[in-house]
Amino acid sequence: MKVLVSVKRVVDYNVRIQVKGDGSGVNLDGVKMSMNPFDEIAMEEAVRLKEAGTAEEVIAVTIGGDKAEEQLRSALAFGADRAIHVKVNEEVSPLTAARILKAVFEKEQPGLFLMGKQAIDDDNNQTGQMTSALLGIPQATFAGELKIDGNKATVVREVDAGLETIEVDLPAVVTADLRLNEPRYLKLPDIMKAKRKPVETVSMADLGVEAAPGLTVTKTSPPPARAAGIKVKTVDELVAALKDKGLV
């Protein structure tokens, strides 16, 4: 079985985000970028499937500008066998991303498509669902556990009510939640080996995909600053203060 994994270049989770003065977006100048942490979890799962002998090949795909190749190199260091770089310099909406990923899926014909449940930059949580819908294949989102058995996958999903176990036919789109696994540390020999693994570059035109219209970001603003708190001495005081604010 082939496993396809999509990874996204995002601002590193350690970086304190700064919104540009004119509200046109987030400041990315000189900011440390990394692979989306949920995509790392998806990558780790794919590599484990390969190590367990369930998958024969792991292919990483990303959509982004020249520098997104860095994240593909990370994916290759994780253990992907090869990578596909869909070069797009503009912002990509979830629907456009889903169209691109659909085209890549159709070209590669993997048995499983893994990705993070969402990217930590926009937190849209849409690309996985849209990709499966466009492809007309099953989806299993928020995976906390994944088992492959022949042509079926059993996925334990982390939902609001608790854990939900579903079985889907393969191929399917599975999106990784936080507890699916703990990604490994990349070993130095693997980091250096990744340099020599193949990366194929394609454009949206090569894939016959057009950007989806309809989504424009009008303004970006930072969340309101947290107001100063107060200190209370006893639990009674705390309860009274909460009641006073109408919170309990």
Partner: protein, 397 residues
């Protein structure tokens, strides 16, 4: 200095490792005044972190020193000085001469397990009567058949309570002090090696520091690194990597101190305004950050030259400058920042007070500031020659 994707990945792996495998345990190790070197080094060895600049034939990555420097810089994220120092002893101070000049057999025996994190190393240069004055050391290694018999003692030995082997600098003849020394790999379980009590220091508590006695310790002569009498020269060369490492591993720790102080002074209010709104403080933070960036530029430049030419005298000068500046700047940054924490800064648990204690060593260990200044002056051509005393002159006359 240009960093590649691979440099960034090494940084990332190092940082994640520190966040998960080191920092959560630092308080415990500080308290115990020792860290579990074997356990930690094995984990690092498995990831390839202990042999970045070491030959591939001995399990290393065979990469140039810029990768090692990226690693050293990330070690600054460790929330104490002792663990990074212990790692530096393993990867630079105790193993760079071995890697460069050791016989294949000796490297197989000591370098391969050091890179794998299976053996912990110490470097034995300083003695109770000789530290920065390396030429004045007294430990002897006298030939007896195919062996050396070692007698003497070594002081301030990092990893000394738990190392498996020590790279020992000893006098192997009576000749001139710069030509009579050799570096010898001595297993710490050899009969006659005694680890005296752990030394109680003002900082670097996670790192165990020992005095070690050698009483008729017998080791085969094949444990000598390179040619006899070349020990002083090799040690001087070994110091260059140590000094670059010291400079690089200081940077991020100082930035953490500055950042923590900024955050604290933003929250802390006096006279109805955040402390940091006082110009003396926010200007000072700007000044200190500028100094750290200047040190970084010097470290990168030194490393860049070293990658191009390992034997350049310019590197000796720049590495000494980087080491000097790192020590002095660490004192300036931690002292200035501690001041703005007020009473909180004077408490034991405070991160800035720990950095203040830990980094104080930088100006002393690995060649004191004054030794660095001597080297720099010598290379600038301004060091006066040693004059005979008037008394000696009179006697000669």
């Amino acid at each position: 200095m240009e960093f590649t994707t691979e440099h960034e990945e090494i940084r990332r792996t190092t940082r994640r490792f520190i966040e998960n495998e080191i920092n959560p345990f630092v308080d415990e190790w500080e308290e115990a005044q020792i860290f579990p070197a074997h356990e930690l080094f094995k984990k690092m060895g498995d990831l390839g972190l202990l042999g970045i600049h070491k030959p591939e034939a001995y399990g290393g990555m065979g990469l140039d020193y810029s990768y090692e420097m990226a690693f050293a810089e990330e070690l600054g994220h460790i929330t104490c000085g002792g663990v990074g120092m212990a790692i530096g002893v393993q990867t630079e101070m105790a193993s760079s001469a071995l890697a460069r000049y050791g016989s294949d057999e000796l490297r197989e025996e000591f370098l391969t397990p050091a890179v794998a994190g299976e053996k912990v190393l110490s470097i034995g240069v300083s003695e109770p009567g000789a530290g920065s004055d390396v030429a004045g050391l007294k430990t002897t290694a006298v030939k007896d058949g195919d062996d050396y018999i070692i007698n003497g003692s070594k002081m301030w030995i990092t990893n000394g309570m738990q190392s498996d082997a020590i790279c020992l600098l000893a006098n192997t003849s009576d000749g001139k002090p710069h030509q009579n020394k050799s570096l010898i790999m001595v297993p710490m379980d050899a009969p006659g090696v005694e680890r005296a009590k752990k030394i109680h220091k003002i900082g670097m508590w996670s790192s165990d520091t020992a005095q070690i006695f050698f009483d008729n310790v017998r080791v085969p002569q094949r444990n000598r690194i390179g040619m006899e009498g070349m020990g002083f020269m090799m040690q001087m060369q070994q110091f260059q990597e140590e000094r670059m490492f010291a400079g690089a591993s200081t940077l991020k720790g100082l930035e953490h101190v500055i950042q923590a102080t900024i955050e604290y002074t933003q929250q802390r209010k006096t006279f109805d305004q955040p402390l940091i709104d006082n110009q003396v403080i926010h200007f000072r933070m700007g000044e200190l950050q500028t100094e750290v960036e200047a040190l970084r530029a010097l470290v990168y430049r030194t490393c860049d030259l070293y990658v191009k030419d390992q034997n350049s005298m310019e590197v000796v000068k720049l590495a000494s400058m980087a080491k000097l500046k790192a020590g002095r700047l660490a004192r300036e940054v931690t002292d200035s920042c501690l001041q703005y924490w007020g009473g909180m800064g004077y408490t034991w648990e405070n991160p800035v007070s720990r950095a203040f204690r830990d980094t104080r060593l930088l100006s002393i260990g690995g060649g004191a500031d004054e030794i660095m200044l001597g080297i720099i002056a010598k290379l600038m051509g301004t060091l006066p020659g040693k004059k005979k005393s008037a008394d000696a002159d009179n006697k000669a006359a």
